[in-house]
Amino acid sequence: MNAVAQSLTPLARLAGAQTGLPGGHRWDERRRGALERLIALGLPTPRDEAWKYTNLRLLERRELAPAPPRPLPASALDALPPRHGPTLVFVDGRFHPALSSTALPAGVDFTPLATALATELPPALEARVGAGDSVDERIRLLNAALLGDGGLLTVAAGRAPEQPLHLVHVATGGGAYPRLVISIEAGAAARLVEYHLTLGDSDSVAVPVTDLSLGAGARLEHYSVGLGGARAIQLEDVTVRLEREADYHHLHIGLGAQLARLDLRVRLEGHGASTHLAGLFIADRARQLDIRTRVDHLAAHTSSDQVYRGVANDRGRGSYDGMVIVHPGAIKADSRQSSRNLLLGPQASIDSRPQLEIKADDVKCSHGATTGALDEQMLFYLLSRGLDRDTARALLTFAFAGDVIAKLKVPELRPFVEDRVLGSLPTAQLIREFIR
């Protein structure tokens, strides 16, 4: 069997999994079309520029068909911190009403996608739900080929719900293809906290695709915490469009999974729109955690800043691949990218590639990237005060992660993440007392 045939096999099998998905004939056609295009293109390989750092060979031996509905143990969400605010739960990509909050705050509207697909959607919304069939976005094609559930979430114009909204994704084994279409309308402000979990160490392949839009002057703080198990694969794709003066924050914490990749695209379409992207991943054991961002400055006075921190230990690998494009006419654009990475072991590796393309005049752009071991001067300073080597190393590692953790503005989230970060560091018990 040659390499091409091998990579097609799991995809070809998916045709059988397309029957019985919600939405009727019209959506069946679209799903078939997406799968055909994907089969023609094949799954990405490291030879594709955009997939240089992410090796999808693992996918070849995995079941990609959507997981069958299974009962979920009541303990499934126990790993999560207390949630102050409504929670919407998706199990293997399907909305799970029994575990979800029934009451949503005024101005917040949610429709499960399976329900919405059966109805006539407004053309603009339908275009967003169906989006993702373009040529180079094969992960979106994979999601489009199995599109069946997820949800439409809207925060109405001018509304600012006090509590954050929580989206919990649980993968139980097999494929999960949730599609979320989220609209934060003009002048609205919201906080969104997403968790990605797996049930135990089940073999799961989750391909969540999210389409976000922020109206004029809207603001969204979007937190995403990856807690997948040792055999979880997650390929997440998030696209955000911002109108005039809108402000989008995305903070990604990657602490789990065997292979997890985030593709985050932000389009600053309106004058004065701004975005703040940050992330922390800890690639311990044999995890591979990749972050790819693309920010398009399409209007004047737009600003973006990115702060990404990666830690790799054991045989862990990671990458940050960030592209900022300042398009013609985006004068006074302001863009900053900072990628710093810490390698704790000789076999760990992290690739970092911040990139910048400027096609406008009068802009302010900067980027920087470093990858290396713990700072020797800092280490010596702590040792010279009598701290043992393990404690000193753990302290410096935790401190390295600190500037991203400090950006967690949801009160219950921060101790939870701190605790998980400590849990993934060697000798963490030695430093718990230092951070409280």
């Binding site: 700072d375 020797e376 001067q377 800092m378 010596f380 300073y381 702590l382 040792l383 010279s384 005060r385 009598g386 701290l387 043992d388 080597r389 404690t391 000193a392 302290l395 410096l396 935790f398 401190a399 390295f400 600190g402 500037d403 007392e433 230092f434 951070i435």
Partner: protein, 260 residues
């Protein structure tokens, strides 16, 4: 913590030669520091003063070509840096590093407790520790807000040096080596730092001041003054030697040494 009496040998360096990246920086340094004494090591830039300080504190990257260093009778060079600190050796850094994300007060407490464990003493809890550190902060004129900040994070040059002395006061080392602690200080800050050092002077401890200028010695009067140049101690004397260096510079010592 110990039964050191005035006049006991604390530090004994014999014929120490050290290379850094293939360059001989120290070439036969000998020095004996006894309990109750304050020594000043002076010398021009590039004389090897900082190399000596950092080597004594246990920094890696130095190759000892010959000679020995004994601290309280033990082979100092065989001990890792953290072990030296716990046994009572303290280095006040010339350029204290900023460590954002590692809290000042917790570092201090961990340092003190590491030393107390070494001496089989009970650890100090957070509450008692704060009481202890607040008194010393007042003496060093360090603001309360310091407690919540990262180690040296955003400190001015003078604040960093005062923080070094504060750490020294908390740890009460048997041997304090202060590397250019006076550099970058204005006269008021210099007095504060000198007060801190003087408050530590006791019959069972010793201090080694490494400095380029005489002015610190107006405030901390040394028992012995040594001139380190070209990797050796060329001349030793009492505090009058420091005054003479201030007046005449370092060249005459070098000429005298090469004539001898």
């Amino acid at each position: 913590m110990s039964s050191i009496a005035k006049g006991d040998l604390i530090l004994e360096i014999a014929d120490l030669a050290v290379e850094v990246q293939g360059r001989l920086i120290l070439d036969g340094v000998s020095l004996a520091v006894r309990a109750g004494e304050v020594h000043a090591i002076m010398g021009p830039n590039g004389a090897g003063k900082s190399t000596l300080s950092q080597l004594l504190a246990g920094r890696s990257g130095y190759e000892v070509k010959r000679g020995t260093v004994r601290f309280l009778g033990e082979d100092l060079l065989a001990l890792p840096a953290e072990e030296r600190a716990r046994r009572g050796l303290f280095l006040g850094f010339q350029y204290p590093v900023e460590i954002p994300g590692v809290n000042n007060v917790y570092l201090l407490k961990a340092a003190l407790n590491a030393q107390r464990r070494q001496h089989h003493l009970p650890e100090v809890d957070a509450f008692d520790f704060l009481g202890l550190v607040r008194d010393k902060m007042r003496l060093m004129q360090i603001d309360e807000s310091f407690l919540g900040r990262g180690v040296n994070e955003g400190f001015s040059g003078g604040e960093k040096k005062r923080n070094e002395i504060l750490q020294m006061m908390v740890l009460e080392p048997t041997l304090a080596i202060l590397d250019e602690t006076d550099s970058g200080l204005d006269i008021d800050a210099l007095k504060v730092v000198a007060n801190g050092v003087n408050s530590l002077r006791r019959d069972d401890r010793a201090v080694v001041l490494v400095t380029h200028y005489q002015r610190l010695l107006d405030h901390i009067v040394p028992d012995r003054v040594h001139v380190l140049a070209g990797g050796r101690i060329l001349k030793s004397g009492d505090r009058n030697l420091a005054l003479e260096l201030e007046r005449r510079g370092y060249d005459w010592v070098r000429h005298e040494a090469s004539a001898a």
